[in-house]
């Protein structure tokens, strides 16, 4: 075992040189790489943490917005339900009104139809009654009835109201010269009856008129006198027609 001072000193120098070399070419660059990687990891961790925090905030925000949307949706749904209920009620009311109108119209139409039918029935009944009355009166009609009606005609002319009498007189006055009054009769009257009729007519018109007698069987019984524009009816056919018109 020997101790060499030269070796001792050179070893010290060698080691110091080695420390410098390794520090310069190995430790410093490798540690720099390690530090950069650690810093990058720290930065990425911080970034990840920040992203996580932002994600949490976004999640919270989204949840809040979702809750708000849910609330708004619920409010809108309730509003829509209310509007739908109102619309439904209005529709129902309108439908009821429409139904009531339709019902009223139907009722009116039914009433009108019933009235028309009733009127038609009345008219039909009147027509049938007229027919029946005409048939029965036709069977009862006779020259004696015509003579009797002529007498009644003469009596009524004598009792004619003054206003009617004035009208009759004006019609008689308006007759042109040569014109005559016409008396249609269902049966031929005898001279006495004709004379009473002409006398009554002359008295009512307050003048003597030329009278022409003509036989018209359609009158059934009685007579019809025409003085100008005045028509004096005293026969069954005209009476039946009157009742039929106003039945």
């Amino acid at each position: 075992m020997t101790f060499d001072w030269t070796t001792f000193l050179l070893e010290i120098l060698n080691f110091l040189v080695l420390v410098w070399i390794l520090k310069r070419f190995l430790y410093a660059p490798v540690l720099a790489v390690l530090d950069a990687r650690r810093q990058r990891l720290l930065d990425e961790a911080a970034k990840a943490e920040q992203l996580q925090r932002q994600a949490g905030e976004l999640k919270t925000g989204y949840e809040s917005r979702l809750a708000q949307w849910e609330k708004e949706r619920e409010g809108l749904r309730q509003s829509l339900d209310g509007e739908l209920e109102q619309a439904r009620a209005a529709g129902m009311e309108k439908l009821k009104q429409s139904l009531a109108d339709a019902e009223a119209k139907a009722r009116a139409r039914t009433d009108a139809l019933a009235t028309a039918r009733e009127q038609a029935l009345v008219r039909e009944a009147a027509t049938e009654a007229y027919g029946a009355a005409a048939a029965m009166l036709g069977r009862l009609a006779s020259p004696a009835l015509t003579a009797r009606i002529a007498d009644v005609f003469a009596e009524d002319l004598a009792a004619l109201p003054e206003a009617d009498r004035a009208v009759l007189r004006r019609a008689a006055a308006a007759l042109e010269a040569g014109a005559s009054a016409e008396i249609a009769m269902a049966h031929d009257l005898d001279e006495g009856s004709r004379g009473r009729v002409v006398a009554a007519l002359t008295a009512a018109c307050d003048r003597t008129l030329p009278v022409v007698f003509r036989e018209v069987p359609e009158l059934l019984a009685g007579l019809r006198a025409t003085v100008g524009e005045c028509l004096l009816q005293a026969n069954l056919s005209d009476e039946l027609a009157f009742f039929r018109r106003h039945g």
Binding site: F3, T7, K23, L26, Y27
Partner: protein, 228 residues
């Protein structure tokens, strides 16, 4: 053949250059080249070699950080890591046929021990100043000053002799077994050499680290800087 010390290979003037120095130069050159090549190829995404070097350096930094305050880790790491790396390679150099481990030379281990001794005081004085640093020699009582001083020298001497003794004895045993038993018989001993090389490098570096940590501790507030 003298295996207990370095053999003079040549002389530079009056200075004898031993095989220990030559092997050390070779190791320094090898490590420098490796460091240079590696530093040229550093990438953000490490390859296989870069990962290995980064892992080793990160482990060394973690080991230093367990003992030293965080503020002193990067300052002390180059010295301690170089101690580990150099002693490991120097110990393993003995496995190469024709070479001897520089650490089987007491001159080399004494040089390393002296460097540890000097670095301890260097880091202590830089961290605390002359007064505070020297005060710990008289703490807790001035009576302990001689013991502190003796302790400084004896532990340095122990560092040098421990490494020297282990590596020298290992090489000596391997040589004797090789001489007596012949081919392939020393292989288990060579495997033991590998383990011993790693263990001795670790012990030397850890002791140096502990001595430096002791020098960095302030006598007034021993726990003022917690190891990180």
């Amino acid at each position: 053949m003298n295996t207990l010390g370095g053999q003079v290979v040549f002389r530079v003037g009056p200075l004898p250059i031993t095989d220990t120095v030559l092997t050390t130069w070779g190791i320094v050159l090898l490590l420098a080249l490796a460091a240079f090549v590696l530093s040229r190829r550093l990438r953000a995404t490490p390859g296989r070699w870069q990962s290995a070097v980064e892992g080793a350096l990160a482990a060394a930094e973690a080991a230093v950080a367990e003992v030293l305050p965080a503020s002193a880790v990067r300052r002390v790491l180059p010295f301690v890591a170089t101690l580990w790396l150099f002693i490991l390679v120097a110990n393993l150099a003995g496995l190469v046929p024709g070479l001897h481990a520089p650490t089987r030379d007491l001159s080399a281990t004494s040089a390393l021990a002296l460097l540890v001794f000097a670095s301890t005081h260097w880091y202590g004085i830089r961290a605390q100043g002359w007064r505070v640093y020297l005060r710990h020699y008289v703490e807790p009582s001035p009576i302990l000053l001689p013991f502190h001083v003796v302790s400084e020298f004896t532990r340095t001497l122990a560092l040098a002799v421990r490494l020297f003794g282990n590596m020298m004895s290992l090489e000596m045993a391997a040589l004797l077994v090789l001489l007596i038993a012949g081919f392939l018989v020393p292989v288990p001993l060579l495997m033991l050499h590998v383990v011993e090389a790693v263990v001795q490098a670790y012990i030397f570096g850890m002791l140096a680290l502990i001595y430096i940590a002791g020098a960095l501790e302030s006598p007034e507030s021993p726990s003022s800087e917690e190891p990180s």
